[in-house]
Symmetry: C2
């Protein structure tokens, strides 16, 4: 086993070169206006030269801001110790906000031991993914497995922010449900997006069709994940996005916490860490419980849970763990068994692609969804969120078929649309939350998490973004951060859109760019440990289930921490190198 | 996922071609003489033509025998329904002894589901090995993993034989310990072998050296596995060999039982099998317990357990599971912690190759073994059993170093030699067991398990073996079945040795060839299920630990079932395709 260290200090960074920091918008009052700013992905790779420096002003849009104290050594962005000021760069360690977990203090031999033990632990405990370099690894379980990439140690996270993220999960669950019921709101809010985004347009068409036939969803199941970054300067936990479809890693996120606890059990004393400060994570069990209860609500013991999957899925083990939990921990009652064709004592799942569902699926006149002749009670999507999931009309037919059925959809088309970035931006508008929620405290809590979000028809913000593109992210209505626009490209694109005067601007929203703390981290991938500077994103899972009469489940379920090198272009690490992580409360 | 079926009935086999069966030696009395017959490997690929048929006689050597009713369709050897008679071949199913588990009755869709579930289960639960086709998979944990090959369902096994195999395990443990103490017996018995087998010769040299310096082992630890096959005709459970070094699969054997129980929990009712009839398997825990107790006997909480490993080890996860059990389940007492350098609360292990041990190891004048300055209390060999493990003098130096030390060796050189085939054959001689054991019942039980074993200086048996080579196996003093000689090669080699009149005959022993039942089996490897005819070998683990005063552990620990296609040259399956299995008692 080899451990390679990409140098935490590239030569140019250990000099006293003058560099400047980002400036960042942040809400200065506790009652933050929803019109704040956000960043949607892990990467911030800008290199702002001295020439580009513009002193920030006190007021910006509806918010105050100050310059931003961050460390992003990998990308040669270095922090300043006070606002609005260019300072000589100090040593990396001196400048970086001191992390609670000081990995520089751990000797290399100990790191090697821990990495070895962590790799063994992962292999024995199913913390694995399909290895893309091995044929069939995305299709056949048990073939071409490799440990999931992980951070060697948990990332320090403030307990207060952790609690807040947990507290708002049920409120977001409720919000999504309320929004999903307001078909007109969804249609109106997305009307301009529809014209310029073909994928979202197809989703909206399905939604329209359901509105036309007055389709109602009496049993509604949401398995969400709300993603956050902790802005280093403002110390605010700001929402990146809310996933209402195919929220990934409910299972592996639990395992990586177990891995870290296991490591700290044996090595914690050496490095001054206490495993009890890693919060428990129950997302896989809670998701399984929610699926089982939705299945129970549907009330046919012979019916199956359908997991909609991609034809190739290298993250299949995350899904398999969930199905295993469902199978092993939620046997149904004996009276069901007696009437059950197969006499099985568990909630059974089947995995099918959209293409297969189109081929084998049908709806009976009463709305029953059949797949290969077998009744489906719950449709759990782990595919269908990206345009590439619909290579032909067959996949769209399958989606419509399921939507029209009486099966419980996780998510329904309404839930799916309620999780789009455009809706996120609409909900961030003043007084919009009040349209869906009553409790003022709840509303205040949600709003506290909102980053700045604007549509591109706001000329003031466009002007600001052209002036200071480094403070914004342009986000299209696409899942996944790969399509986001940063830095000078924001300016270029905004100017182009202004000139063209087309409707294309409706395909984007603008978000405040968030600058999370950068910490030296051990990232382990493909059996190799890299030491690098990294940033982290917290996802908090929420489960919601209700029927016609009442809410059955509305809770926070657990969390996902993902950590990524702060500049993916540095240190010999491939772009997008994110690893699974857990949190260490401080 | 694909399931390929290698045809259970090749066209030539479903015809009525005349074929003949093996004849087999078997002891007819319950008080079987130790000079019985044995087979040492999985494969019996002979094709005996009608021309070769020789009617067996009633008396053969010191034993009675009759013709053998077996099914070996893969190799075109078909059974006869009565003794000494050539019969028309019936259909495959008609002839094969009906297995309790009738896999022909399981429909293909169900098999596919079970295979998929089994592959998922293996991946999630660490039933994995390194994939030889992936680089680094034998060196770095977590990289290039593939599910361990397994049988989809347990193999039927008679409960009485299972019980016998368990009962004799502690007796064999005791026997090995007694034999190990009789240095003269070991030296004398192996004196001729020494002249012709360079590897065994080196081991004997180490043993001689230890005798010279009057080295005694006060704490003696044995982790053995006694392997058996159930001879179909005689219904006798006959010992193949007794492994006293590097008994593999104590961990994965437990997991495959868990896998089968898991499958039967969900599918058992469909196929008429009850998971409770798979006996529990605790080999990994018992081995860990024995190692922990040996470590405790050594009585230095700072000392480590050294696992001696090969530089590349694709079966590393079997070893890692054992070390994980040791680490997690056997914390030492608090008073130890207080004096412990690292304050760890577990028995710590390190893995080193013989080459590394030569480089970093040393012995203090008091016999203490140090490795990189750290004291070693227990040396657990998972390497060192084959000539290829000693590519240079460095590895031999390491072996001698450890042997000279006061660390507990598992095994010591005496235990290692006591497990050689030559000693197995010597112990099978009349009145030999009585030299080491007192209890007549115990002796009778062991003898019941002995197959026919002869040295090549027995001219009577040589003559018989040249006449009927199909009834014998020539086994060299090599670990692993790959070097065994079968069929016409037995005759050729025996005639050559007779002509040459050299000492080379001492390199071999002759064993009775055992013909186990052949059953149709689903074998799963690399994500693909093959249906084929297979034979099985049972290994029963034993743990033995004693100090100067008393025996601390002497017990049966669990079992390993391995199943292999009955002819490795048929059905498109690579030679040596053995899978892990468990047993289903009937």
């Amino acid at each position: 086993m080899g451990i390679s260290y990409s140098s935490p200090l590239s030569p140019s960074l250990s000099t006293t070169t003058l560099n400047i920091t980002h400036s960042s918008l942040f809400p200065c009052t506790s009652k933050a206006n929803p019109g704040t700013i956000s960043d949607s992905t892990f990467s911030h790779t800008n290199n702002i030269s001295l020439n580009n420096l513009q002193k920030p002003t006190k007021k910006f849009g509806s918010f105050y801001y100050c310059s931003h104290n961050t460390t992003c050594l990998g990308s040669k962005i270095v922090p300043l110790k006070c606002f609005d000021k260019v300072r000589e760069m100090e040593t990396q360690e001196g400048i970086a906000q001191k992390p609670t977990i000081d990995i520089h203090g751990i000797d290399e031999e100990l790191v090697q031991k821990m990495v070895y033990d962590a790799l063994v632990w992962s292999s024995l405990h199913g913390l694995v993914v399909g290895d893309r370099s091995v044929q069939r690894s995305g299709k056949v379980p048990g073939v071409g497995m490799v440990h999931a990439p992980f951070s060697l140690l948990p990332v320090t996270f403030p307990e207060s922010h952790w609690k807040l993220a947990c507290e708002v999960a049920p409120i977001f669950n409720e919000l999504i449900d309320r929004v999903s019921l307001d078909g007109k709101f969804l249609q109106d809010a997305l009307s301009r997006t529809k014209k310029v985004d073909a994928f979202t347009s197809r989703l909206i068409d399905i939604h329209s069709k359901m509105l036309e036939i007055n389709k109602s969803e009496e049993i509604r199941l949401g398995l969400h994940r709300s993603d956050y970054m902790l802005d280093e300067q403002t110390k605010l936990l700001l929402q990146i996005e809310l996933n209402t479809i195919s929220s990934s890693f409910p299972s592996l996120s639990c395992l990586v916490g177990d891995l870290h606890r296991s490591l700290l059990k044996y090595y914690g004393e050496h490095i001054g860490l206490d495993s009890s400060r890693i919060p428990g994570n129950t997302s896989v069990d809670k998701f399984a419980e929610a699926l089982a209860k939705a299945w129970t609500e549907y009330n046919n013991p012979r019916a199956l849970v359908l997991v909609v999957v991609q034809p190739e899925e290298h993250n299949m083990y995350d899904q398999h763990w969930l199905c295993a939990a469902l199978k092993e921990r939620y046997p149904f009652h004996l009276q069901y068994c007696l009437s059950c064709l197969y006499n099985t004592h568990n909630v059974r799942t089947i995995r099918k692609t959209l293409g297969e569902i189109d081929k084998d699926g049908e709806i009976l006149p009463d709305g029953t969804l059949l797949l290969g002749g077998k009744e489906i009670s719950v449709v759990y999507f782990r595919a269908g969120y990206a345009p590439t999931d619909y290579p032909s009309e067959a996949e769209w037919r399958a989606r419509v078929l399921m939507e029209q059925s009486s099966a419980v959809k996780c998510p329904s088309i309404s839930y799916h649309l309620a999780g789009t970035k455009k809706i996120q931006q609409e909900l961030a508008k003043p007084n919009m939350l009040e349209r869906f929620l009553e409790n003022k405290e709840d509303i205040a809590k949600l709003r506290k998490c909102f980053a700045g979000l604007w549509s591109l028809d706001d000329s003031d913000i466009i002007k600001k973004a052209i002036e200071r593109p480094d403070l914004f992210v342009m986000k299209p209505q696409r899942e996944g951060g790969g399509n986001n626009i940063y830095g000078d490209d924001v300016r270029t694109n905004l100017i182009r859109l202004q000139k063209e005067g087309s409707e294309e601007d409706a395909a984007y929203i603008l978000m405040q760019r968030i600058f999370p703390m950068v910490s030296p981290t051990f990232l382990v991938r493909e059996g190799i440990c890299h030491k690098d500077h990294a940033i982290s994103e917290l996802g908090v899972y929420g489960a919601y289930l209700r029927n016609k009469e009442k809410v059955i489940i509305n809770e926070q379920c657990g969390y996902l921490m993902r950590t990524k090198v702060s500049s993916s272009n540095e240190g010999g690490v491939a772009a997008g190198f994110a690893v699974l992580d857990s949190i260490y409360l401080n």
